[in-house]
């Protein structure tokens, strides 16, 4: 009977044996390195690092047991990816960044390779195959985590943009039938749509007759922004309310003139307070100090 040599053993088998033989050593190194990477910023407690290390070794062993070739669609592979996805999310939630996580994954890979070098019974060809398997697994993990990281960042940016859009257009009923809309920042098409939608709905629900649009917070104006402003004023008029434009700073006025934007049909006032006075005048509302008419 021919003696089975390590060269003839399948790659996953060699890796499993390597893991079994050195599990104590590998887990100790992993835990130690994990503590050095995640411990100093209190990203993970020692217990968590130990639990994660053990879970990782368990999942990796299960994946290697599943077959000679790594099946990316298999439940074992999905479980390992999910493990790293959860792991990286936890690191991010606690203020860690991708660098720390990628360093850790690289370190895991390095630990296996060091143990591989120490085993003299493994041939060069087999070592190359193992390297390929490990490289595939760890590169996929990094890629997956990177996607999750990017998705998380994109979601955060979208949520912040949405919040900014909502909070930067506070429509207030300052008096019965009078709405104020201070515009801060720039007016692009998507923001105009949101502002107009909110404004027209408020005109309808509050039965507003005058809307004071204050552009003191608009830093720059171009033809597109001015077009959006005129559109907003026109839509307000179609609803049956009157728009008063206030807070046009000198540089904005100069820009409007050079852009040949005609605001002659629009009621304008220098300041928000002047706009409110005009709104009250249109509604025949008189605001006076107590006793001033005596």
């Amino acid at each position: 009977m021919a003696k089975e040599t390590p060269k003839e053993r399948p790659t996953n088998q060699v890796l499993i044996e390597l893991l079994m033989q050195n599990v104590g050593k590998i887990s100790t190194i992993i835990e130690k390195q994990g503590q050095s990477i995640f411990g100093h910023k209190n990203l993970l407690s020692n217990n968590e690092i130990n639990d994660y290390s053990l879970e990782f070794l368990e999942l990796l062993t299960m994946l290697l047991h599943a077959g000679e070739k790594v099946d990316r669609r298999g439940p074992e592979y999905k479980a390992l990816r999910q493990f790293f996805a959860n792991f990286s999310q936890q690191i991010q939630v606690r203020g860690g960044d991708m660098d720390e996580f990628v360093r850790y994954v690289h370190f895991l890979q390095g630990t296996f390779l060091e143990n591989l070098e120490a085993d003299k019974s493994i041939s060069f060809e087999k070592a190359r195959e193992i390297l390929l398997v490990l490289g595939t697994i760890f590169n996929d993990i990094i890629l997956e985590v990177f996607h999750i990281y990017l998705e998380g960042k994109e979601k955060t940016i979208e949520a912040q943009q949405e919040e900014l859009k909502q909070t930067s257009t506070p429509i207030t009923e300052i008096w019965e039938g009078v709405l104020t809309l201070p515009i801060i920042g720039s007016l692009d098409s998507s923001r105009t749509m949101i502002v107009m939608e909110k404004l027209l709905s408020r005109i309808e629900s509050d039965r507003a007759r005058v809307v004071v649009i204050d552009v003191t917070g608009v830093m720059a104006i171009d033809s597109q922004v001015s077009h959006h402003l005129i559109q907003m004023i026109r839509a307000t008029g179609l609803m049956g309310a009157t728009a008063i434009l206030t807070g046009i700073r000198p540089e904005i006025a100069r820009a409007l003139t050079s852009l040949n934007i005609d605001l002659s049909a629009v009621t304008t006032r220098s300041k928000l307070s002047e706009g409110l006075k005009e709104a009250f005048r249109q509604l025949s509302i008189e605001v006076s100090r107590p006793g001033s008419k005596l």
Binding site: M196, E197, L200, S201, I203, E204, R207, A208, R209, Q231, M232, R234, A235, T236, G237, L238, M239, G240, A241, A265
Partner: protein, 112 residues
Amino acid sequence: MIEGIHLTPIGDGNVLLEPGEGLDPSAPETIVAPVLDFLQRNEARRLVYDLKTVRLIDEIYYTWLIKLCATCRIANVEMVTVNMQPAAAYALSLTLDQPPPFTCVLDIHHLR
């Protein structure tokens, strides 16, 4: 009785026009004459067009409104729209490059 339109004198020279399901805005010529006849018979000074049920004002509908307004003007009747819906106002504002020839008022209670 005009198909797709309900006309009601509401006093003080005002006539309320409520468009119905059967109104065909693509053929204004057939509708404006009987409307004008009703306005003159009732000695109307103002036609109040209620847009409450009109969800969208497209080019065809807007042309119908303009033609009706022009006819009213010939008969010295002012045309006022009321209750334009936010979505309709938004869509219409995107297509207009000048203000409409008729007056827009929030609702019937805000008529001056």
